[in-house]
Each structure stands twice: as structure tokens, then as C-alpha cells.
Symmetry: C2
């Protein structure tokens, strides 16, 4: 019987984190231990090495996700392990999982099989407390807003137009829409409000884009919390709480060090939503990793149309990062799904469906090249893949001169990723300078339309009246010279989750535009984006347990 991820993880031999850190030149003085297998890395490490040449930065992304599963995180971890095996000192940089969803459907995630980061039970639960620090920081600002209104409302805040919401790191649909301040005068002014899950907080996006504690504090002050009764914007700094907010984040800002099952150092720090935010680990984590190895492997959320685009247009721009190669993860099964095959039939060989579906991969390759970057395709192998199918993909990619490698990192760990590692090194060693897709100084609509046409393959953009109004307001305030953060379904290149493959000539409908002024981007929402998940009928929580000896079940 196949072992579960938690079984494999709990059977692994972890090194004391002191020894993992030692491999990349970090001493005990550079670290704050959190138990024996987790540590925070001092920001001094980055400051001390600021003139040191950066490692090669490799982004792992994917085709548009399907119910078949692509294994992007697993390939990221496996590739990091593989690069180490072929002699490149490698550090992996990943996002932190959100605690809430662990109790819903997911049950935990930190790679899989023999390509996992550990201790997975801690990484999936409280880890080093970063999510809790973000929750508290967000909710301090929220409490300060309602307190300001209650205590006389000197800023004239319009309680009908408060934009900043409370958060909780829990899947709790009952909190999506609430009335607060009920019960009369001692309890403040009643108003409509709602909770988001913590990773949707602008504080999370800020943590991931800040380049220092000062920068973090300044960005938190710039959060636009709502409008006053004169229709003017009001910011967090008007409430004078950005100092206290920064104080609450003083430990959370430090990147976290853990290890993979093969003791490869992994820095896991920050995990913003990949729709209403940019879906990448923190800039400080990536920058720190770049000073500690020869190679850094990182990933971005969802498929390349969302994840890689935002990584390149938002994170790399703010962080001054220059990636050297992009790995696009695909599977035979997922490409067949893009070719119209139902989930139940994905195990049956079907080269015709593969031919139809491979256009999704082809479009993502074309997109990556628009950033002056060269992609490497990783085919994450499954037992059901036929030789004919694998051969077809290889020939297809050879014809368009794209590097491709099979990986078996779930089953074999780093060894299963060595072929990919060699291809990645080959591409990375001859890489040039990447360029973002658009100029941030352009108008909001120009930027949106560039992404829709160049990356998604759409033909036009339609704006709701609400979106038109907000765009005008943001431009009137002069706050529009920021990158765009598209919130779109991850399942399609278009804004319609049912359009698989590589659709063309579609219109993208923009329902809502939101200014994340502290994070420094403009969110463009297409369709309904859920910012507070719910629990399923039988939550994963119901299967979880721990005994007196610390044996855990139900995380998988």
C-alpha cells in the first residue's frame, strides 16, 4: 500500500535546523530557533551579504490547473533536491500554507511523496506564527477603525464605505457577511462588514512585497481603509497605528528555514492569495535565499497565466529580481483534460486528446518567452502515462525548441528530478535579463488590456459600471501607477473556468477594481472571487487526532 505524505514525513530523518543552516553558511547567531526543526533567519543576513552576487533564480509554474493535479509544489521541492544532487548548492523558497483550509478539504500540503518539506505537521499548523501575526495586525487596524468611529469619528469616516475587513485563519462561511456593532451605544456604531481568510489580508501581500521593516511599516500606513464623508480616501496612517502594526510583525518579517526530506534547505515565508493578491512567497525570503546558494528554486500560485505573470510583473519588479529560467509543470493527464477528457477517463491513453490539450502548454510557453525568459517543461510522470503519449509531448516540444524533462520526484525524491535539473542548469547558465510585460506608468485600462491580450489570448475587456467608477477614482487620486493584480479563475486562460485548452477571441469581464495601496498594486476582479472558504460536509478536521505520544493522524 502507498504510504501517505504524513507517514513518509514522520519516518524521515530530519537534521537539527542548526545543521541545515550550517550547509548554507548560517551560524546560530543568524537564527532564532522555533523548536529543533524550524528557525527564523535574521534580516541581518541579507544586509551583510547585500553586495554578494545573487544565485540563479528558477521559477516553477504550471499549465492551467485541472482536477487531475499537476504537482507543482512537489516538482519545486524535487527540483531543489535534484539540483543539490548534481552539485549545485540550492535553496528552495516556498509559500506558507494557510491553516484554515487544512481543516476543510485539504488536510495539509507541503509538496508530496518523497519531495516534501518537513516538519509538515508544523508547517501546516501554526508553523512559526506568521499567519497569526498577520491576523492580529490586520484586526488591530480593523478595531482601530471602528474605535475611531465610536470615539467621535474625527476623520469623518463614511461607515457605508469602509473597505478594510477583519480576517480569521479559518474556513468559516458564517463570517463572510456579518453585521457588527450591534447592541447599542457601548458596542459602537452598527455597520455591515465581513471577514476574509487571513491569506487574503492586504497585510499578507505587504509582508511579501516589503524589502525591510521600515518599508513594511510605511506600506501598512498606506493601506486605504475607506472614504470619508467628503468622498476622499482615508489611510491607515491617518489612524496612527502603523507603528503598532509593524511591532506586531517584527518576528513575522523574518524568513523561516526548514528542510526537505533530503535535508535541502527550504525557506518558507508568506503566502498571499494568488487571485486577489500576487501568490508568491516574500521578497525578503527570495532575496535571502539568493545570497545563500548557487541556485534558488521558487514557485508561484496557480498556472503561469496568473502565477508567473504576477511573479514577473509584480514581485520581480518590486524586489529587483532577475530570474534565469522558468519551469512549466504539466502532466499527461492534465493535458488530456485540457483536450476534453473527463476526470474518470484520464487513465486511458488518448493521444488525440493530448494533441488537442497541449495548446494550453504551448500558450504558456509562448507567454514566458514574452518576458525574455526561456521555459523548461517538466512532465510530472504518472503510472498511467503511455509511451506514445510521452513521446508525442517530447516531439511536440522539440519541434518548437523547448527543453523538456520527465520527473518522478513524488516517488523517487531528488533522484527523480535529476534530468530536469540538468536541463534547468543548461538554460539558466546562458540566460539574459528578463523584462516585465508592461510599463506601470500606463493607464489602468492599458495595463489590463495588455495582460488580457498578450497573456490570456483574449480580444477585448468589458468593464462594469462599478469598475469604471473605481478606475476613474483611482486615477483621479493619482494612485494608479502600480502593477495590475488580476483575480481570475485559475482553470482557464480566459475568465470562464469551462474554456479549457487555449481559447481565443474571448472578452474578459472586469466586475470590480480594488486598490491595494499598501501592497502597491491594483486588483482587477473578473467573476466571483471567494475570499472566505467554507468547510465541507465532512471536514478534514473530523479525521484528525493526536495521542499522548504525539502520533498524528489526519494530516495527509
Amino acid at each position: 500500500m502507498l504510504k501517505t505524505d504524513i507517514q513518509i514525513a514522520q519516518e524521515s530523518t530530519m537534521l537539527h535546523i542548526r545543521d541545515v543552516a550550517g550547509k548554507i553558511g548560517l551560524s546560530e547567531d543568524d537564527l532564532d530557533f522555533y523548536g529543533k526543526y524550524k528557525a527564523k533567519i535574521s534580516l541581518e543576513v541579507l544586509k551583510r551579504n547585500k553586495d554578494k552576487e545573487d544565485a540563479k533564480l528558477i521559477l516553477v509554474t504550471a499549465i492551467n490547473p485541472t482536477p487531475a493535479g499537476e504537482g507543482k509544489s512537489t516538482v519545486t521541492v524535487g527540483l531543489g533536491q535534484a539540483l543539490n544532487r548534481i552539485g549545485k548548492k540550492t535553496v528552495i523558497a516556498l509559500r506558507e500554507p494557510s491553516l484554515g483550509p487544512v481543516f476543510g478539504v485539504k488536510g495539509g500540503a507541503a509538496g508530496g511523496g518523497y519531495s516534501q518539506v518537513v516538519p509538515m505537521e508544523d508547517i501546516n499548523l501554526h508553523f512559526t506564527g506568521d499567519m497569526h501575526a498577520i491576523t492580529t495586525t490586520n484586526n488591530l487596524l480593523a478595531a482601530a477603525i471602528d474605535n475611531h468611529i465610536h470615539q467621535g469619528n474625527a476623520l469623518n469616516l463614511d461607515i457605508r464605505r469602509i473597505l478594510f475587513k477583519r480576517v480569521m485563519d479559518m474556513n468559516d462561511r458564517s463570517l463572510r457577511q456579518v453585521n457588527v456593532g450591534l447592541g447599542g451605544k457601548p458596542n459602537g456604531f452598527p455597520r455591515e462588514d465581513g471577514f476574509m481568510i487571513t491569506v487574503a489580508s492586504e497585510v499578507m501581500a505587504i509582508l511579501c512585497l516589503a524589502t525591510s521593516l521600515e518599508d513594511l511599516k510605511e506600506r501598512m500606513g498606506e493601506i486605504m481603509i475607506g472614504y470619508n464623508l467628503q468622498g476622499e480616501p482615508v489611510f491607515a496612517k491617518d489612524l496612527k497605528v502603523q507603528g503598532a502594526m509593524a511591532l506586531l510583525m517584527k518576528d513575522a518579517i523574518m524568513p523561516n528555514l526548514v528542510q526537505t526530506l533530503e535535508n535541502t534547505p527550504a525557506i518558507i515565508h508568506g503566502g498571499p492569495f494568488a487571485n486577489i493578491a500576487h501568490g508568491c512567497n516574500s521578497i525578503l525570503a527570495t532575496q535571502t535565499a539568493l545570497k545563500l546558494g548557487d541556485y534558488v528554486v521558487t514557485e508561484a500560485g496557480f498556472g503561469a497565466d496568473l502565477g508567473a505573470e504576477k511573479f514577473l510583473d509584480i514581485k520581480c519588479r518590486f524586489g529587483g529580481l532577475n530570474p534565469s529560467a522558468v519551469v512549466i509543470v504539466a502532466t499527461v493527464r492534465a493535458l488530456k483534460h485540457h483536450g476534453g477528457v473527463l476526470k474518470a477517463d484520464l487513465s486511458t491513453p488518448n493521444v488525440d486528446a493530448l494533441k488537442k490539450g497541449i495548446v494550453n502548454l504551448e500558450k504558456q510557453i509562448e507567454n514566458i518567452r514574452k518576458f525574455n525568459l526561456e521555459p523548461v517543461v517538466a512532465i510530472n510522470r504518472f503510472m498511467s502515462d503511455s509511451v506514445e503519449e510521452l513521446q508525442f509531448i517530447e516531439e511536440f516540444l522539440n519541434n518548437i525548441h523547448v527543453n523538456v524533462a520527465l520527473t518522478e520526484v513524488w516517488e523517487k525524491g531528488g533522484e527523480g528530478g535529476e534530468a530536469l535539473a540538468h536541463k534547468v542548469v543548461e538554460v539558466a547558465e546562458k540566460s539574459g535579463t528578463y523584462k516585465p510585460l508592461y510599463d506601470v506608468d500606463k493607464s489602468i485600462k492599458e495595463k489590463i488590456e495588455t495582460i488580457v491580450k498578450e497573456i490570456y489570448g483574449g480580444s477585448s475587456v468589458a468593464y462594469s459600471a462599478q469598475a469604471e467608477k473605481t478606475i476613474k477614482e483611482i486615477e483621479a487620486m493619482g494612485l494608479h501607477k502600480k502593477p495590475i493584480c488580476m483575480a481570475k479563475t485559475q482553470y482557464s486562460l480566459s475568465d470562464n473556468p469551462k474554456l479549457l485548452g487555449a481559447p481565443k477571441n474571448f472578452e474578459v469581464k472586469v466586475n470590480e477594481v480594488k486598490l491595494s495601496n499598501g501592497a502597491g498594486f491594483i486588483v482587477c476582479l473578473t467573476g466571483d472571487i471567494m475570499t472566505m472558504p467554507g468547510l465541507p460536509k465532512v471536514p478534514a478536521a473530523n479525521l484528525m487526532d493526536i495521542d499522548e505520544e504525539g502520533n498524528i493522524v489526519g494530516l495527509f
Copy 2:
């Protein structure tokens, strides 16, 4: 100019926590470090030493608190330092402060002056994440309740009678009373709800009364969450989430080790409300401390009528603890306040007022003796105290054969507590076996009336119709054989905060009775007890800041 607490704390020389632990025989294997100055102590330490003789346990309590301030925590820390100085290996056991109030009026607290626990900025903020674990555990159960109702409500939960509330570790009055589940079918069933501050969660009380992880899990399963439509009680275990709840608490259950300014080991763990809960640090922390020193100094919330009574009738009973002495902290200023002097006039010598007010101290002494324990009075000296006033107190206590010592621990640290330490040792070395005040098998009303008459000095108890009904329900369910947890004003021996001194012949009005079935006690509420504080007009948060070098202002 006097230094602030945070200045004194930041100027102190802390030992690495490894070395503090070494003083009490703990090795690195017994610890999980959280940075360099905090550690969690493995529960194995207690298991390994279970047959070892316990240290002497000293409780520090106080007269009824006044606006003048008594300095109970400061005396607790100072006494611990002093005992070490006179050759007794001493461990201090304290409650964890709640993060929320730090941003309100308080600005932080962990003793004061030269009798503080450090690092105070961490202890007052996220510390080792225990509060966040409790918040999450509480809110997982809350989400599971609403999810159960949304998914078909197989248990027939009555949404008008859900007793279990969400919590947040923030002073946020707008969350006291809310409507949740608004917005239609996808967001669940609408109902009235409210948030409490985290320390008011039953999960916190459970953490502090549990004697193992198994016991913790079982108690969490026993939380009564509400009634079904048939009027029968429904428990957390009916939702099958106690395993996941225990998993979330796997680290939080371990006691936290820090140090005082004089490097005395201090275990800080758990901090339940002292009104709707029992107001003491965890049993596991106290039991662990008792295995590691010759003396353990601990404290309980509010004055002796609430704190000491609950410590002795709830915590010691559940934990099998046998205290050896009780220190009652008083100040000249506070006793004059009990004698009718206004706050502005407390610096003026006034022996007549002192004579009137000392009855409060006299009654607390009488109460402690009812538990077969001998009190030692600590007069926490202030600059404004006159020789006549101090002499009067000494003579008064000599006449009733009570040990008394002056302390100057704020100004002088442990040295200022040596006189007290000698008195405490004298009493503790000849102590016997303490006895609780009442038999838990008695009826709820008998137990309440025993406390009111014996401890408060009242003559009768009046019950609201609601309280009468709940008492009948609890007794009908057979769940009444538990200690009573009185929720009463801390400012008076009575339930009226204006009755200072030692009032007599008063009636106590019981408004509401609540079963904390998981924690294992019955809460009896007199008057309005606030379980979610609000922020003041100028919150302490507005004065807080941190710079790039980590210099902190605004915690004091």
C-alpha cells in the same frame, strides 16, 4: 527621571534560555527554543519526575484591588528573586498576558521596575503563540458548529440556544454583538452571535486545568456548545472535532520558560480570566515548576476573595496541589483607599483612614486561614508611606499574630524582597495540609452560599429567574458536581464595587449561571461581566513604534 519598565527590561542582561534552564536541571533535549530567550518545556520533564517530592508552593494574592495599584505581580517576581538570593532554588509560575489589552490602556505588563520577567516585549506580544493556538482552537469549534447547521443539522442544534462563542485576542467592542451567516444560502443560517476576547475562551480554562494532552482532549470534547431542539445538551464531542482541537494545542500545552531581570527561571503559561474563569496559570506549569526547585512562587488574579479562593477551590483541587503559604500583598495607599480616601489624596499620611481600611486586609487574612493556610502580609512600600502608617500596620498584624514584611522589589529587585522571603520560608517550613472550602458534591446553591457567607462576608444570595432555571437544568443533567467559579467585581468583597473595606450583611445577586463543562466548573455571574473589552479614545497602540534596529517604544 525614573526609567520605564521597557527601558529597564531592554537594558537587562538576559542569559540564553539554555543557561536559565540549566540552573534547574533541564537539558537542551527537554526544551524547544523560541528564539534565544524563550523555550517550551517538554511534558516529559513532569512525567520523568513524577515520583520526586514537590517544592514548597507559595501563592501570592492581594487585598481587593484599588486604583492605587498594589503590585501583586511585581511582588511575585521580586519574591522569587529574593528566595533565590537567600539560597532557595526558586521557580516562578505566572499567567500569560493577553495580547489584546496591550493595545488598549495597559501597554504591557510582566511585573515592574527591577522585578520583571523578560523579554517583556515578546511576553506581551505573540510570546510562543499559545494565545493564537487557543483562538484558533476555539474558532475551529465555532466554525464546526455553524457548518454542522449549514450542512443539514443532523444534531438538531437550536440556533437560538448556541452557547459557544467565537473569540479574538483584540479589544474590539464592535464584535461584542454581531449577526453572522448573512447574505443568503451559501453563507449559512443567520443567527445572533458575539465574540469574546481569547482569554475568556473555555479552551483557555481547559488548557489551565488539564493534566495531560489526553485530559485536554477529553475536556474539549466535554464543552457544552448549546441545546438541540428537544432541549437536550449538545457537546463538542458530538461534532467530532476534539481530536483536531487537541492537535492545534500540541505545542501550546507545553509550559513556557523565561527569566526575571535577575535570571531567576520563570514559567509563564496560560492566563484565563479571573472572573468568568479561575485566573491562574496552568496546572501543568505549576506541577512542572514544583519538580524543578525548592520553592515555587505563583499568583492568582484579582484579590484574595476571587483569586485565592479559586486557586484553592478549583486549581489546587484539580491539580492535587498543596500550597505551603499565602502572601497577601497590600499597600498603605490602597488600604487608605479602602478607608475612604480619594485617589488624589493617597499621598497624604492618614492613620485614621488606614485604621478604617485595614479591615479589608483583616478579612482576607481570616479567609486564608479557613483553608488551613497561614498568610504572610507583604507591604509593598511606596515613597509616600509615613513611618506612623507603617508602624500602625505592623502593630495591627502583630496583634493578630500575622507575619508581615516590607518589600521594595520594584526599586531594588530581589534584594528588596529578602525580608519577605525569610518570613515566607519560616511559615512554609511548618505548614500542614490545606483543605478546600466546600465539598463539590453539594448542590450548586449550597456551594455558592458557602462562598458568599464564608469568604465575602455576605448574609444571603438572591437568584434571577434565569439563574434559577439554569441551576435546575444543570442539576437535572447531573452535571453539577463541580466547583463554583464566581464572576464578581474585583473591587469589593461584595458584588457592589463601591462597598470598600469589609462590608457585612449584604445580599449577593446572581444574574446568570453558566456551565463550563469542559473546564469542569460552574460560573456564577453577579453583575455585568465584560468578556470583550474596547479600545480607549487614544489607544496605547498609537504610541507604539519599532525602528529598523528593533528599538521599541510604547510598551511600558
